[in-house]
């Protein structure tokens, strides 16, 4: 521990130009200290590369049917087996993984962006803007979101997943927005914000340039957590046929297709399900590592100090970073 402290100190004393780079390096180092987060990042990159590169090396594509192997168990030519129409499960799973990854990686940050914009505007402008935005927020919390998503999503998206992602994001921003709002309220009377305001800077520019960078840490962590949340709600909706529509394939639709045969032909269900869980685990670990990196006072950082004193355990601690799972879970059991 002492070595890291010393190197941080020396970086602080370095000239200004180097200092901004020093912060980035410090974050990277703190992130790398959390071994689970590193593993998570590694696996996620592997999944991303695998989902896009692997299919071109496979003998079967996800649109081809192997008429000589209908619903066979994993074997040499079909490592993940095939489903009833004889489509290679490995090719299908990779195709579904592509879609689920894209949905998560686009939808998560999008949800956070909406939350940041609404929360910061409400906190910064205060007064009527605040009251109206908070009121909309409360209404969105009362509205039966799963019900409305199930009605709206398939009719609005007509098979285009991008609109589907936007709809998912529209129902997931509320809790984060509330956190951003309360943080903005403490930031808006800082000198640099006041100075910008008295110089006549456009309020939206102040929000983007001065408020949001100061809550960036929580936004980045939240974006990672939202990735998992979005993927889970996509799976849930797709399971009932309200989500991704055929011919598109996602892990959610694969899980839904494989569910009736899970006990007799487990490969049709458990391969897509396994990849989904792996993906969710990775994002959770990454979010955890990011939170530790941005917030050295968090439990993870304390853990290492304690360990340095005595215990021989070297495995880094993880702590649930998510408050946003709460609401999702209420409607997704």
């Amino acid at each position: 521990m002492t070595t890291t402290d010393a190197s941080t100190l020396s970086q602080v004393e370095e000239p200004k130009v180097r200092r901004s780079r020093g912060r980035g390096a410090l974050l990277v180092r703190r992130f790398a200290r959390n071994r689970l987060a590193l593993v998570g990042l590694g696996i996620l990159v592997l999944l991303l590369v695998g989902a896009y590169v692997l299919p071109s090396f496979l003998p079967w594509s996800y649109t081809q049917n192997d008429w000589n192997a209908l619903g066979v168990a994993p074997n040499a030519s079909h490592p993940f087996g095939t489903n009833h129409p004889g489509v290679d499960m490995l090719a299908l799973t990779m195709r579904g993984l592509q879609k689920s990854l894209v949905i998560g990686l686009v939808g998560g940050p999008l949800t956070t962006a909406v939350a940041a914009l609404v929360g910061a505007s409400a906190g910064y402008f205060g007064g009527w803007v605040d009251r109206i935005l908070m009121w909309i927020l409360e209404l969105m919390l009362v509205v039966p979101s799963f019900l409305l998503l199930a009605i709206i999503a398939p009719r609005l998206s007509h098979g285009t997943w991008l609109i589907f992602v936007v709809v998912l994001a529209a129902f997931g921003w509320m809790i984060t927005a509330r956190v951003v709002r309360s943080m903005t309220q403490t930031l808006k009377d800082r000198e640099y914000v006041l100075a910008a305001r008295y110089m006549g800077v456009n309020p939206m520019v102040i929000i983007v340039r001065h408020i949001l960078p100061n809550v960036a840490s929580i936004l980045i962590v939240d974006a990672t957590i939202q990735v998992g949340a979005i993927v889970l709600s996509e799976t849930g909706l797709s399971y009932f046929g309200f989500g991704i529509q055929p011919p598109d394939v996602s892990l959610g639709t694969l899980i839904s297709d494989g569910e009736p045969d899970a006990t007799t032909s487990p490969w049709m269900f458990f391969f897509p399900a396994g990849f989904l869980i792996l993906m969710g685990l990775c994002t959770a670990f990454i979010g955890d590592g990011l939170r530790d990196a941005f917030d050295p006072t968090a439990a993870g950082a304390k853990a290492r100090v304690k360990k340095a004193k005595g215990s021989s355990d070297q495995e880094p601690m993880v702590e649930l970073a998510s408050t946003s799972i709460v609401v999702e879970e209420g409607t997704a059991s």
Partner: protein, 320 residues
């Protein structure tokens, strides 16, 4: 306190009204009950279809605002209209609330108690192997969709030679009240386990982090200093304080589970509120969907008020 609660209640009531209205308008315009008749063989004449739909306040030729007004005046008198196959929505809802209650009663009590206990225990044993293992396992469970948890349990059960039956409410071949009740209890095991796994993970993670904050507090040291044993101090001064912030989460989750146990109910064949939420949409059943919208919004209202009350009961600072 009373005035505060009253103002909250009025605010919630307005929100519930708006949420229900929104649900009705969205369901009324997006769902197409006419499809139910068009797909019939032989297909009834169009005039008959429209007459039938008009009788149920579902005719797409009637402006949505008029239909809404008709629906609203009915709801205010306790009449939620008819389902797509002609039953009373209110009666169906009553039956399904009963089924959901039976499914959720045990599951919620067990998960709330064990979640709090398990979280506190993990906090006391922070950084020990048991705590680390349960942390990683909780991440895995939170990343797993309910469908996968439920189906995995079913698959395990089948591999073990089906010691536990799980399809529908009870074994249809069971005779006599005692046999039916026992069979019913057996059929509760797997769905309860599914719900418990998810809820206990969520609750224990939160309980763990609030408990960790409390364990560092000065008043716990003071309690030790005045002569309490560690156990007494942790239970009486630590756990009691640490439970307070978890309470709203517990209350909201448990109450919203009434329409939220969708996956569990469908996979295990329990015909409760959660299942209805999905089937009503699949059947283009506008009246049922709207009724579920009212019910869910009402649940949020109840959850908000109950969590305020529980908070006030536990935290003396709010009561003042």
């Amino acid at each position: 306190m009373g005035r505060f609660l009253l103002r909250r209640a009025v605010n919630y009531l307005i929100l519930v009204f708006l949420a229900a209205t929104m649900t009705y308008f969205i369901a009324g315009t997006a769902l197409e009950p006419i499809v139910n008749y068009l797909s019939k063989h032989p297909q009834p004449p169009m005039a008959t279809i429209h007459n039938l739909l008009r009788a149920q306040n579902l005719d797409p030729n009637t402006p949505i605002v008029v239909r809404y007004w008709h629906w609203l005046t009915g709801v205010l008198q306790g009449n939620f209209g008819l389902t797509y196959n002609g039953d009373s929505v209110a009666a169906e809802m009553g039956r399904r609330i009963f089924v959901s209650t039976e499914l959720l009663f045990l599951a919620t009590i067990i998960s709330a108690v064990s979640g709090v206990a398990f979280g506190a225990w993990n906090a006391l044993r922070q950084y020990r192997p048991s705590d680390k293992a349960s942390t990683v396992i909780s991440y895995a469970i939170l990343a797993t969709p309910t469908v996968v948890i439920a189906v995995t349990l079913q698959t395990f059960d089948n591999w073990m030679g089906s010691p536990i039956q799980y399809i529908d409410l009870y074994d249809p071949s069971a005779h006599g009240a005692v046999a039916i009740v026992l069979s019913n209890l057996e059929h509760l095991i797997l769905p309860t386990l599914t719900l418990w796994l998810i809820q206990v993970t969520l609750f224990s993670r939160f309980q763990r982090s609030t408990m960790l904050d409390v364990l560092q507090a000065d008043y716990l040291r003071t309690a030790r200093a005045k002569g309490l044993t560690y156990r007494q101090a942790v239970l009486r001064h630590g756990l009691r304080t640490a439970v307070i912030p978890v309470m709203p989460l517990l209350v909201y989750n448990i109450i919203l589970l009434f329409t939220g146990a969708t996956f569990t109910e469908i996979i295990f064949g329990w015909h409760g509120m959660g299942e209805w939420l999905v089937t009503s949409i699949q059947n283009n059943d506008v009246n049922a969907t709207a009724a579920i919208g009212v019910f869910t919004a009402g649940l949020v209202l109840v959850a908000g008020l109950v969590s305020d009350l529980v908070y006030a009961a536990l935290d003396p600072r709010v009561r003042a």
